[in-house]
């Protein structure tokens, strides 16, 4: 009785991943109980254009001046496992500035804040499931997980899709980042081919002459079972 297929084994992180130290006291220890997909799981919130700020897609135009750093275009498609576009779905992003600092009271990294960069964006996918953000390439930053720990450059993504069951929060990484190999969060995904899908692709097609490099990041949500209420 599952409307949405469960992900293939090893393609999602385990909740307990000891190299990521924060998971040790926060991951549940009891086995998860399989939830049937009822109307409660197959419906979900849909957000209208009125909710989403019209310039939410451009993180470089939220202040008086331009943020420092390398301007980039991040775009892609939101689709399901069968390639069907997920249209009119809310996409939220947040990230560090070019120096690797978040505009957040808890972030004490000794790197400058940028008065022209907040690091938040939001948009809706179009009819074809496409989205597009203009932002700057975030910096790497140190964290306290282990000695000399640095997070690779990344952008946080939050997407809803059509149902409570399809809700997904993830992170997008950049190609060729030498820190990926050492990052316990990236490496929490057991299967290498699945993990690599978190790395964006440098994209000539969306690279804009004289303006910005383009990176493509497609996001895949769970597919529907062939029979809507399969047993």
């Amino acid at each position: 009785m599952l409307r949405y297929r469960r992900p293939a084994p090893g393609t999602q992180p385990e909740l307990l991943h000891p190299p990521y130290v924060s998971s040790i006291k926060r991951a549940p220890t009891q086995p998860l109980i399989q939830l049937p997909h009822t109307l409660s799981e197959t419906t979900g919130p849909s957000f209208s254009k009125e909710v989403v700020p019209p310039k939410g897609f451009d993180l470089t135009r939220q202040h008086k001046g331009e943020p420092l750093g390398e301007r980039i275009v991040v775009s892609g498609r939101l689709v399901d496992e069968d390639g069907r576009p997920v249209a009119h779905s809310l996409v939220e992003i947040w990230q560090a500035n070019a120096a690797g600092r978040y505009l957040h009271k808890v972030d004490q990294h000794d790197a400058p804040l940028d008065p022209n960069f907040t690091g938040m964006g939001q948009t809706l996918t179009d009819e074809e499931g496409r989205y597009r953000f203009v932002t700057i390439r975030p910096g790497a930053y140190p964290w306290r997980n282990h000695y000399n720990a640095w997070r690779p450059r990344h952008i946080h993504f939050s997407v809803f899709g059509p149902a409570f069951a399809t809700r997904l929060v993830t992170q997008m990484y950049f190609p060729g980042d030498p820190l990926l190999e050492f990052d316990p969060i990236y490496n929490s995904v057991p299967v290498e081919s699945a993990r690599k899908r978190l790395i964006s692709i440098f994209d000539w097609a969306t690279t804009t002459p004289e303006i910005a490099l383009g990176f493509r990041f497609d996001i895949v949500l769970r597919g529907r079972n062939a029979t809507p209420m399969e047993r």
Binding site: T11, R26, P28, P45, Q95, R167, V220
Partner: protein, 189 residues
């Protein structure tokens, strides 16, 4: 294009930058009718320490058991002004609080009615995937026959049912315990 579902990653410690703009702690605002309830509690980690950097999301039906979604095939129309989505962070003491309308019953497996419940996602630093749980209402006559509650071992069901305050039954208390003796029941959605 097709493929496998994109892997989940943690929201990390700074999610309020990106998610805070859509915080909604009053789901009842704008709704007419229905029973207003306030739900409050704490999130506690494996050492019993409050979690000050978590975010909850709520999804629920209106007082008549209707979800505000176009694809919803139910023949009832949704209550005016009720959306059913909430998002709220925990504070420095690990506490959360929100006000909503107690949902009606929605159909479950074999079209048997489910007991009124909220769908809840829990996000925080340290969680590589969201946690999914449900909140049920105290003393609801539909609880004993609820399909999902009956999937849960008897001894753990109480972790899914909020407790009314003696002095005000419209205030419900419900803690989320990530580990330990009274670990909250979490689901694979």
């Amino acid at each position: 294009m097709s493929g496998e579902t994109t892997p989940s990653q943690t929201v990390g410690p700074y999610f309020s930058i990106g998610l805070g703009w859509l915080n909604r702690c009053d789901l009842a605002r704008g709704a007419s009718g229905g029973e207003r309830v306030t739900i409050r509690g704490r999130i506690l980690d494996g050492e019993g320490q409050p979690v000050p950097d978590a975010c909850l999301e709520i999804w629920q039906a209106d007082a008549h058991g209707k979800y505000a979604q176009p694809e919803n095939s139910q023949e009832k129309s949704p209550a005016q002004g009720f959306f059913g989505f909430g998002r709220m962070p925990t504070n420095d003491r690990g506490e959360f609080s929100f006000t909503t309308i107690k949902p009606g019953s929605v159909p479950g497996p074999d079209d048997r009615p489910q007991a009124p419940h909220l769908e809840i996602s829990v996000f925080m630093r340290g969680l590589l995937r969201r946690l999914v749980t449900r909140l049920y209402f105290p003393n609801d006559p539909a609880n004993p026959a609820d399909h999902v509650l009956n999937l849960v071992p008897v001894g753990r069901r109480a972790t899914l049912i909020a407790r009314p305050l003696a002095e005000d039954p419209h205030i419900l208390e419900w803690d989320i315990r990530l580990q330990g003796e009274h670990e909250t029941v979490f689901f694979e959605c």
